[in-house]
């Protein structure tokens, strides 16, 4: 690419998805899922995030939660307050976001990662899978501006994409029982960060000293759906220094 800052994930604003409509599917009697497509695609996800914000800004009474995912928004409601059919017709009247003219992403977060070693025990396997050296693997992983498609699995866990095809290694067949907090992993075309120590099956390639979830903070979550992330490689000293700074800030 000729441009100084390659942006492989940048939206092409001139292209529209073939079908710009949405589909309502009930999720039990107290939630409805609004589907925008059937792919993990930045244009679909941009429409999802826009629509979720539209629903939230209606400030309808009896709406409990509005949750964007890769390709759909689920609206949870108090079934004593809303008839499912009434809510469906209200949702259908909201403007259908098109993939043209909407922002390709929110603010960009730069996340430092100490790659390899005990911090990224699967880096060498991933490099072998990709047919690259570990250094080339790191360069490729840090070359992409990723989109936060959604958060799930555990509080603050971001599903980021899309990972270059060459690095799209499937999950471990047997998940680890404990993945350290801050671990950066890869699962197929997605990359993610474990905000807290949990079991997990993603291929671990590094670790960030930055906390993604601070329970008692007034602003507990670092990332929101629709925001952008770029990783950069740091050395051990920088990792230890940053980890120390965040630990002190948390005291």
């Amino acid at each position: 690419m000729a441009s100084p800052k390659p942006r492989p994930n940048r939206l092409r604003r001139t292209r529209r998805t073939p079908k710009e409509s949405f589909r309502l599917v009930p999720l039990g009697d107290s939630a409805v899922t609004v589907e925008f497509g059937d792919d993990i695609d930045p244009r679909i996800n941009a429409r999802v995030v826009t629509f979720a914000n539209t629903v939230v800004t209606q400030r309808w009474k009896g709406i409990l939660d509005v949750v964007p995912t890769h390709r759909s928004v689920t609206v949870y409601f108090d079934a004593l307050h809303w008839k499912s059919s009434t809510l469906a017709s209200r949702l259908k009247k909201l403007p259908c976001p098109s993939s043209t003219g909407i922002s390709p992403g929110g603010s960009l977060h730069s996340i430092p990662v100490l790659y390899g070693g005990e911090w990224g025990p699967d880096l060498t396997d991933l490099a072998a899978f990709a047919g690259l050296t570990p250094t080339e693997t790191i360069l490729l992983h840090t070359s992409v501006r990723y989109r936060v498609y959604m958060l799930g699995f555990s509080p603050g866990f971001p599903y980021l994409g899309l990972v270059p095809e060459r690095l799209a290694m499937p999950r471990l067949s047997t998940p680890r029982t404990k993945v350290p907090a801050g671990s950066v992993g890869i699962a197929d075309r997605q990359t993610g960060i474990y905000p807290s120590s949990t079991p997990g099956g993603w291929r671990l390639i590094g670790r960030t000293p930055i906390p993604l979830y601070r329970k008692t903070d007034s602003n507990p979550f670092l990332l929101k759906p629709g925001e952008l992330v770029r990783f950069h490689s740091i050395d051990r000293d920088t990792f230890d220094r940053l980890a120390g700074e965040y630990a002190r800030a948390n005291d």
Binding site: L27, G28, V67, L80, K83, M150, P155, T198, K215, T216
Partner: protein
Amino acid sequence: MNPIRIHVAKPGWLSTVQDLGRYGYQQYGVPVAGAMDHYAAIVANRLVGNRDNAAVLELTLKGPELEFEGDAHIAITGADLSPTIGGKRIPLWESIEVSSGSRLCFGTAQRGTRSYLAISGGIDVPLIHGSRSTHCASETGGFEGRPLRRGDVLLIASRSREVLNSKRLSDQLIPCYEKSVTIRFIPGPQHNLFPATALTTLTSTSYTVTPESNRMGYRLTGPRIVRKGPGHFISDCTTMGALQVPADGHLILLMADRQTTGGYPKIGCVITADLPLAAQLAPGDTISFSPTTMAKAQATLREQRTLLDAALPQRRNFHKD
């Protein structure tokens, strides 16, 4: 008025602080949690003059031993875990005065699995993301993000000044917990990913709750449900009562502590009005699934609540929490 303290002499098998759940943060991956049996939790709160969403204790199968410091007004609902004070059985589904120094003990589970203990004023634990519910897996909310342990001391929020009349829920509104239940569900959202026979399979035989069941969900054994083809399914939102079908074809009924999103298709969702029945099941109990419609599901829930409101009105929200 001196605050009431509750000293945990024995924690019981799994005793957690719960309200009606943590909504508003699922977009950040924060699970809803909350009481498994909302009906029993709401009734317990109404019996002691609390708001429906006040924090209660959810007690599982083997209840705790609790010592009261200060006079309290309590109610126990849900499963009958043989509660006693001073060796005397105390009734469920009605409000009770407990004097300072009393010890509330629980024995064996007679009927049902989860019991709810409400104390007038509500349990005072910090609000985390707007809720007092405990989600043990993420160590969020409730009492230090975990089940109660021996030696813990629970504080009760200042008791309202109004005089509390003793209240009892009328018999016909008290649910009867059985070992074999019929539970209604709405097919979908992904029932189309399964052959037409899948719904027949689901509804023609009963499923058994396995020991690998907890507040996150129940693994069920019974006839396997198999997808039409391999086809891909992209993770999306889950809900309490969703019937997930993993690749092995063994159903998982998602409950209060479920993760916010999941990568397995959902063949159906249990109706809200029947979730309390599901919440009271234990391993070995069986479920027959019966399909219903959205309109019937919502009408049943409204009817259930109208009857409860007539018998025990919801407390008006005079004071801020």
